[in-house]
Subunit: 359 residues, 4 copies
Amino acid sequence: MRIGVLTGGGDCPGLNAVIRAVVKTAIHQYGDTVIGFRDGFSGLIKDKTVPLDLPSVSGILPRGGTILGSSNRDNPFRYAERRNGQATQSDVSDTVVETYRKHELDCLIVIGGDGTLEIAHKFTAKGLNVIGIPKTIDNDLSATHVTFGFDTAVNTVMEAIDKIMTTAESHHRVMVVEVMGRDAGWIAISAGMAGGAHIILIPEIPFDMERIAEQIYTRKGRGKHFTVIVVAEGAKAAGGDRIIKRIVEGSSETVRLGGVGDMVARELEELTHLEARCTVLGHIQRGGTPSAFDRILSTRYGATAAVFAHEKKFDHMVALRTPDIAAVPLSEALHQMKRVPPTGGHVETARRVGISFGD
Amino acid sequence: MRIGVLTGGGDCPGLNAVIRAVVKTAIHQYGDTVIGFRDGFSGLIKDKTVPLDLPSVSGILPRGGTILGSSNRDNPFRYAERRNGQATQSDVSDTVVETYRKHELDCLIVIGGDGTLEIAHKFTAKGLNVIGIPKTIDNDLSATHVTFGFDTAVNTVMEAIDKIMTTAESHHRVMVVEVMGRDAGWIAISAGMAGGAHIILIPEIPFDMERIAEQIYTRKGRGKHFTVIVVAEGAKAAGGDRIIKRIVEGSSETVRLGGVGDMVARELEELTHLEARCTVLGHIQRGGTPSAFDRILSTRYGATAAVFAHEKKFDHMVALRTPDIAAVPLSEALHQMKRVPPTGGHVETARRVGISFGD
Amino acid sequence: MRIGVLTGGGDCPGLNAVIRAVVKTAIHQYGDTVIGFRDGFSGLIKDKTVPLDLPSVSGILPRGGTILGSSNRDNPFRYAERRNGQATQSDVSDTVVETYRKHELDCLIVIGGDGTLEIAHKFTAKGLNVIGIPKTIDNDLSATHVTFGFDTAVNTVMEAIDKIMTTAESHHRVMVVEVMGRDAGWIAISAGMAGGAHIILIPEIPFDMERIAEQIYTRKGRGKHFTVIVVAEGAKAAGGDRIIKRIVEGSSETVRLGGVGDMVARELEELTHLEARCTVLGHIQRGGTPSAFDRILSTRYGATAAVFAHEKKFDHMVALRTPDIAAVPLSEALHQMKRVPPTGGHVETARRVGISFGD
Amino acid sequence: MRIGVLTGGGDCPGLNAVIRAVVKTAIHQYGDTVIGFRDGFSGLIKDKTVPLDLPSVSGILPRGGTILGSSNRDNPFRYAERRNGQATQSDVSDTVVETYRKHELDCLIVIGGDGTLEIAHKFTAKGLNVIGIPKTIDNDLSATHVTFGFDTAVNTVMEAIDKIMTTAESHHRVMVVEVMGRDAGWIAISAGMAGGAHIILIPEIPFDMERIAEQIYTRKGRGKHFTVIVVAEGAKAAGGDRIIKRIVEGSSETVRLGGVGDMVARELEELTHLEARCTVLGHIQRGGTPSAFDRILSTRYGATAAVFAHEKKFDHMVALRTPDIAAVPLSEALHQMKRVPPTGGHVETARRVGISFGD
């Protein structure tokens, strides 16, 4: 069999482990030929390939990033280019099909997020055999129990909270840590529980600044002169954009002066007269060597995708249905977001041990 | 309610996180009083207690070990003591019951391995209300999907393999890493897969030294002049004690000259004339700050045990039945070992990516 | 002898290691009594103490923060308070002297930065015996070769760069990492060299945005489609505030829209049309368990300070004069900043391996 | 200029960072051509080369091991081979000279320990221009203040002690940690101080088992029911081989049943009736990503070696004379071992904070 592989979308620990497992399984088990495409679908548009033999994947298991490169701006159905200094947009999906045919591929394994997998799914209608491997560091995909990269990100955030916790305690401060999670609060709630945060703000539970200030005072009453707050970047106050307005009052326009973490810190300084500081963890959450859990899950995903290629389970993606790896039709899996249930589960456990959600 | 807590058996990352969650939930949710007993059942035998209020569990979430202390030699039904220089053994279980009554406990939460939980179960017959929280770093308990501490141990071993891998490659060596796992190979197979080991030897699959030597030669033929082998301490050669005999030939008695890792390394040097070295990871596998996964699981175990106390689910233990924490009768859970299935699951994935089990 | 100890100023890995070494040396070597004051000089103003015996320093060596607490707003010569809702400022230095006398102290060991040590020095004129232990995570003190906490911060930043490097490479991005260093670029240049950054911007060498853009293009010409830039928070463009102005053009007021890192990233996006992202590492640089180097240096500082107390080397501070710990008069040590020499040393090495300083 | 590079001897974190700095400096500063030789002097004997251009050293800074490979059995003056099944030994140094000439080298940069550098020095007499870069993870070379790899090893050992400390405390055990250091105790004393060990045994200070047992009892008297002992592999009892004899009594031959760490643990169990366990850290001390300190020192060494090549400082090696990198004649630097001074320095600081050396 001749198998193509590409990685699309943002960085995520475990991408190289997935690629390695696809290649090793395809070669060791089936004697396949594997071809990597550079920088997501761009590699198929421009026919930029890299041979994926055993030496090429040697030693990549512990490494962050992706040896294939990735891209965020490579939708072949709406491909954006600069021609003669002009931004143009065109459908180059037939070029992708041509490249696929030229390399005589039997299957294309696409590792990517919702957007990338939707593109992959559309190529089924154009006759390509695609298999998806879901990638979302936010763990917000309902079709699979866990996604790779999430465990590593949670550990990275937890270690940052560990570091910030002692500073908060020694210096009697309110420390706000802003983490990834635009639509779902999985990283915030998981790392917040693991790090011993006192307040966790997630998109699923609107927060109230006055309630948070009260909780800080309650802690002070118990002799705890510090508070650590973990905020998902998508968390919102119950009263909506009130925060933004207050911060820019006096200015003629409404500009975003930083993320929700900065705003929460500023508001709390005003409300409580305590020192409050915000740290935005940013891109360090997407990098680094994958945790053991993520390396194993990535290996299982990659190995199973190679098996699915030979079982002709096309237009499907691999998914963890603990303890098994199942094949889920891409059409069913796409756009099905998994949010943190606002009752039960992690939220219930967190409340039991005294964590507040600012509500 | 008045709740007692003790920790028994070997060290395991997450013990403090469990204690903290019990205390926080009991106090925040129910206004309970919690009393810690020192050094396992010894604390009940000798009435050595430590008050477990909120300040006492502050800051312990990330710490290894147990603030309560533990013991391996404290079975109250067969209590070993030195009296007048003589080793004696006696049944002091009634003293435990007295201490329980004296402190007017409504429930005793016992965090420990199979041995400790069996003792807890026996006290039910003596009228005590016990709730168990299972602890085994080897993850070899069938009643629960995962046990806390395991994920941390696997990450610790993986990091050691990462370090040893580059040495093996640069110096063209066979490197053997001996890890925990007397009866089950979970740590070896998980960390071995995560670390990219080439050969994994586990108790569930007897190995053959000649086969291992062959695989090292096969790798050499492919230009790979190094091999990393992960061995569970309970792994055995198919031919049994053959290894031990060869090593001590010429000696008048059969002595154990090191663990299975040392033996594998020595045999391979003889068979392949390559340099082979063994590292026994030992106690570093049991220590360190718990991983995010273990801190969350420990928190869920502890919080749920406190809830179970109020729901009077006595003579039960908490268990992870993904994604829920269930109550399992101790009588059902005891002595039910979970071994690595020699086909399917992890073994199948590992074989797919080219890992050998020396068989 | 009766010795008082306090910690002042911002957080810094190694503070607890210093306290521990003072206490252990004072007790083991001399049988002294040691008293801790809470939250910097506040503890002397309000007579808030904590006994520092051997049990109180047990287990604190690896922990971040300070068990004594710290404060940034506690200058007894200009003490700011709220009385009846009014902010007042007064000289309460005599209260400090009274507390010192009340506890019959023979010496006060002050662990802190330039500001805290200056206060300590002023108390010499009021008859107190003070010994200083210098603390600056930025390593910008000329009186000592290295300060504790710096090595840990550099390692923390390096690990963040390691994580960001793979993302930059996989996603063909310009990644900017803003680190501590208001006046001196020690953290930036050290962590930048250790992390393999391509461009390092420090306060000592004004940078030029067009030069940086050129260097990014030069890299692109060599097939390197990514660039990692480390920026000290105090780095400045040669043309001064030009950057700030351009960013807010169209706005009626000149507001600071983020630090220098954000500005560099935005400017580069405009100049190069490449994706550029900034991560501000913030408070994680001040926390965490100290590195081996910092634990040893802290231990040497603390132990030597206790010895100096008995040698009556008052109004001095400990300082590393490799390989010795020397006593330096506080009057000589204060306000003597150590900056990165713009030629020779680290800058020369960095340039040799191809690192640019944006000049 | 045409420069050759090789790495010899055991693994050491920073080797790749040295190679990278040599290559980057040689190419960026001088436009040189750099050629790597595989597996130490073997590469010159068998003419196995690898081109060292900029892409070949891209991304290797954080990686353990050496991309050039190394060897321990490659002395060209006494080269051991198997011919027709026979072990032979011959002088192939002229072959090395031929290879050097064939590649028209102007200089050979040799990165290695005492043995490797001595070989390099001998080639000066044969007309080769050699420059040495000293490598010893044990830091036992008097010609240079610090060697690369040492700081990483000390941190690795410290982290292991951190993990073992909590187990020791929770389980009331004597825990022995055996670390590298055959002739000098630098790793043991540095990591022991950094990890808060209670007793440190080094080759420079003979120990006494009875004294150690006493110290354990003294700790017990102060309520400390655990003790952590760090032992350098070359540490020896004052009474010499007494330990070994006692352990094998009853056996007909004297065999080594493990290292000094195992023996200390067994002896202490006998003497104190406490549980004692030993962990031998082994090869994990030589691997892993280098610390910031080691990456910077390695970069300085490599960059300066390239400069020395152009300054024709042949038959010299680079050496850290804080804060400078100096050139030291190989003839002066060889075989000059740096041991831990048994009085003053680290030993004095350690004793001040209550650490015993078992004497």
